[in-house]
Amino acid sequence: MCLAIPAEVTELLPDGMARVTLDGVGKIVSVALVEDVAVGDYVVIHVGYALTKIDPEEARHTLALLAELAVAPAEGAP
């Protein structure tokens, strides 16, 4: 039951709500479950609620690891 998608917070609204945008599609969701949400943050949205923020540093780290695997010739896991 985990269908969730990352979307960008584009506007903070009263009562713990916010507008998020995904490639031009906007939706109003609750951010009451996540602390310190700011415009520009990316949050994971599930059934109309933000569950957590995406950490851009960690996201970059993961992609870097994946890219490394693309060139790594030898054996071994990351």
Partner: protein, 348 residues
Amino acid sequence: MSPKAYRRRLDIKNGRVDLSHGSGGRAMAQLIADVFHEALDNEWLRQGNDQAAFDVGAGRMVMTTDGYVISPLFFPGGNIGSLAVHGTINDVAMAGARPLYLSASFIIEEGFAFADLKRIADSMGEAARAAGVPVVTGDTKVVERGKADGVFISTTGIGVVPVGLNLSAEKACPGDRVIVSGTLGDHGVAVMSKRQNLTFDTAIVSDSAALHELVATMVTAAGSGLRVMRDPTRGGLAATLNELAQQSKVGFRIDEDALPVKPEVAAACELLGLDPLYVANEGKLVAIVAPEAADAMLAAMRAHPLGRDAAVVGEVVADDHRFVQMTTAFGGGRIVDWLSGEQLPRIC
């Protein structure tokens, strides 16, 4: 000198349809005249008959019928009226035929606002004029409140097929190319954005359009290489390909990377848990064409405003199981099966 005949105009702004407008009396005549005849105006309607008469030319004729029950009635990019005109013209055009005439029958719910009815009729008129295909005859009924979702529209369209052209759903053969005329899922997403419990905002508008002129260029370019065309409406591209697989007794191999989908449509589908392959289109077609004619036909499509994003998305293969197989953008394989039930937005 006789006194000037006074007939009070319908109060389009505030008035509503009531049962008297369906009873065959003066009120109905006025509704038809002030709303439908005005919007759809042409020489046949002006004759005021219950039927339209016209000469039948040479060649094979095509006839199609359709029902429109869309909700909401008004959506970004159109309404039930323009949709009815485009959809019916397209059904005729999918046979490679030149659409000639349309009929339209309205079942209107008691209490429906004249203003909305006029908007719908006006849209139909505009669409019909732009396409050069008049609505030459019609019918009006009014039913009690609650028995129709605002208005239902039923149509018939007729056209004539060029001599020698014989498109059919049984004609796809292994090696043929599958071409779509443009981006997938626009209409379904546009309509869904207006549904009550799924509100999301988007700039996506319905792709509702009459395709007969695009079809004419395709028929010329592909000649006998064109096997069959179909418009992927309800059930999307998935439904169309599965239908054709069964009817032609073949399989398909589709390349997910090749499917044209607008980023916003992809995003909306992600948010709702939908697959663009199953989302309705109202201004697109799928064409199966022999490999030697594919390039020429594709070029002709891309030269037309309604085919700018046309793309080859796959090919026909021999397959006893009639599977529509797809290579995912990720590199793995999956099938694109028939839609099960209604596509409900998924959260899982």
